[in-house]
């Protein structure tokens, strides 16, 4: 009897998945593997091509007529020329400025508002919360926003890439719901000890909210780094372009970068290599912050989805 049970038990266990579903059919598993492999390859392979081409030499690019899948020689010329102080270096500086300053300002203003709205005794909490919620439902539209930015004198100013999009109502609500979920006792005891709201925020709330602040900050940062349309709208002066506008002009638009535009590098690498190097520079920061994003974003997205 007991031997029979021993035989049965492992079989039964093996045919169940962690979530209680039974084991899939072998053919089905092959099919799934195939679908997932193709899907992942469709995402990974283009990047392999871009990286390879940015390192490839003239001969190989000419032979391939464009993208190469693996560089035969390893050349840093494309990157050297891009960083030679021309259009691309300048745009990189602009993008870094807008992203760092923008993210910092966004996080500070958003966290302050979210904290204020999370405290029950705040004066004007109801109406302000309504204003934040309503801003999610009804957006003013492109033309009036443009005219407002123009009226405030921000056309052809880098601040136009930061200020109009600085506060996202969605992020305010995400942070607010997180703050409201913190244990009430923390606030009560801090108040009893005579802490001001600023001290509570600084010493208690912010240290407890590092993870969610990181997520919100990274989302803001990715938004600033990727923004191209605000630049298209508000910047007429191409000298102020962020990186995305440069990618648009020289990679999507296919304009050739002249040596002068590159800042007169010693050698002029093949255009496809330069283009892919520019593309790489605009992708790398995203790929670098991505692991941090991924670690937390499920939480951030879900908080917004459940409470929003």
């Amino acid at each position: 009897m007991s031997t029979k049970l021993n035989v049965v038990a492992p079989v039964r266990k093996k045919s169940k998945l962690h979530n209680g579903q039974s084991m899939p059919h072998p053919l089905m598993r092959v099919f799934k593997g195939l679908v997932l492999t193709i899907a992942c390859a469709a995402i990974v392979l283009p990047f392999v091509g871009i990286i390879s081409t940015s390192f490839a030499g003239q001969d190989q690019i000419t032979r391939a007529g464009g993208l190469v899948l693996w560089p035969e020689e390893f050349s840093l010329q494309a990157y050297e020329s891009v960083f030679a102080g021309g259009v691309v270096s300048k745009a990189l500086g602009v993008s870094i400025f807008v992203t760092t300053i923008g993210t910092a300002l966004s996080l500070i203003t958003t966290a302050l508002l979210a904290y204020a709205l999370s405290r029950p005794n705040m004066v004007g909490r109801g109406p302000m919360m309504m204003l934040v919620l309503f801003s999610l439902l009804f957006t003013p539209g492109m033309i009036p926003t443009y005219l407002a930015v123009k009226q405030f004198g921000l056309i052809d100013s880098l601040w136009a890439l930061i200020i109009p999009t600085m506060v996202s109502g969605f992020n305010v609500i995400v942070l607010r719901s997180f703050f409201m979920g913190l244990p009430r006792e923390l606030f009560d005891s801090a108040k009893l000890d005579g802490a001001s709201e600023w001290q509570i925020l600084r010493r208690i709330v912010l240290p407890l909210s590092k993870a969610i602040l990181a997520v919100v900050g990274l989302f803001y940062g990715v938004g600033y780094w990727n923004s191209f349309f605000t630049a298209l709208l508000y910047l007429n002066d191409s000298g102020l372009w962020p990186l995305q506008m440069v990618v648009r002009a020289y990679v999507v638009g296919g304009s050739q970068l002249s040596p002068a535009e590159l800042g007169n590098p010693d050698v002029l690498p093949p255009q496809p290599a330069i283009q892919m190097a520019i593309l790489m520079i605009s992708i790398i920061p995203i790929v670098c912050v991505y692991p941090f994003l991924q670690k937390h974003f499920a939480k951030g997205v879900l908080t917004g989805a459940v409470k929003g």
Partner: protein, 336 residues
């Protein structure tokens, strides 16, 4: 201590001065409401101060432009401004009804793109999430997720560049065809294939990311249901049909509502980046129409009118769809 019942008692205990003033003068009751606000502000001025920077931004760049929509009723000229421009009533809105071919084309393209993307883009992450959810190995699942979420964080400029490098006239695919003696295919820059192209770009960028919500919902389905049904002899397909899909009903309806509210908004950045290659005939949508007519063309009043109507319709669609969801007994996006 009349105020103690109305406010958190801890606060009162902490600030004895305030308590004393309010409890000592019960006769001053009618005068209390304004004073109460002032007291509250004195106690909590810091919180209101915290809110000011972000609220100012919101008022200046959200609510002020919202009022700026009045130019939809003007023959707006930038050098005259809102004060000086002539009021023309609903003249600008005539574009909506007078059968202007460019406008009708934009509306048609928008609706067709929305329809195609709802049919093809919307179900893709559901299928992918079901597929991922059924994987035995959690490590494999995690690795696939890591790869598939990434494109969501890339800008449209980069996504369009990547597609061009692969499928463009001198892109990887066409070079390969030429080297093998074939004729290059016009994929990018072909007006007939434009909707297919942008749909595949949206799928490439966002299918993986969109699984995140579905996977979260799937992980919350009670595993006992699978155990029990499997004991009763249910196949995997029957489990899918009777347990998994009903479990996802709520989130699918919620996302469809949001999609419906967004149905007049289709990939503006994505399309404006590629408009030059295919021309306005195939690629003009409502948002690009507003941009091309207003910002580029200087036809401010008409563009603002179109944008305003679009905004109003979107809000009506969201509210209507939400109502509909309530009628079907779903919770929808928000509840009263």
């Amino acid at each position: 201590m009349t105020t103690t019942n109305e406010r958190p008692s801890l606060k009162e205990l902490k600030v004895p001065a305030e308590t004393r003033t309010s409890s000592r003068k019960p006769a001053a009751m009618p005068a209390r409401p304004p004073k109460r606000l002032r007291t509250r502000l004195r106690e909590n001025w810091m919180l209101t101060l915290f809110a000011i920077p972000a609220m100012v931004i919101l008022l200046l760049f959200h609510y002020f432009p919202l009022l700026g929509n009045v130019i939809a009723f003007q023959d707006y000229l930038p050098f005259l401004g809102i004060d000086g421009s002539e009021w023309v009533g609903f003249d600008n809105f005539a574009i909506l009804f007078n059968g202007d071919p460019a406008f009708l084309n934009a509306v048609k393209n928008t609706l067709v793109i929305t329809f195609v993307q709802t049919v093809f883009v919307f179900p893709a992450p559901i299928v992918l999430a079901l597929l991922l959810n059924s994987l035995v190995s959690n490590r494999l699942k995690g690795a696939v997720q890591s790869i598939m979420y990434l494109p969501h964080f890339l800008s449209w400029v980069i996504v369009v560049s990547v597609f061009q490098q692969l499928l463009g006239g001198s892109g990887f695919f066409n070079n390969w065809i030429r080297q093998h003696g074939g004729d290059a295919l016009s994929i990018i820059g072909n007006p007939d294939g434009f909707i297919a192209l942008i749909t595949s770009q949206v799928m490439w960028k966002d299918t993986g990311w969109a699984t995140i919500l579905f996977l979260a919902v799937l992980s919350q389905i009670d595993t006992d249901l699978y155990e029990a049904s499997s004991v009763d002899g249910a196949s995997r397909w029957r489990q899918l049909w009777h347990i998994t899909l009903p479990g996802m009903r709520g989130i699918i309806i919620l996302l469809l509502i949001l999609k419906l509210g967004d149905s007049l908004t289709v990939g503006f950045e994505q399309i404006i980046l590629q408009q030059a290659a295919v021309g306005v005939g195939a690629s003009e949508v409502i948002d690009t129409y507003v941009y091309n007519n207003g910002i580029v063309g200087g036809n401010w009043g008409v563009a603002a009118a179109v944008g305003l109507v679009k905004g109003v319709i979107s809000v009506v669609l969201v509210l209507g769809a939400n109502k509909l969801a309530h009628l079907f007994g779903e919770s929808g996006v928000y509840q009263k």
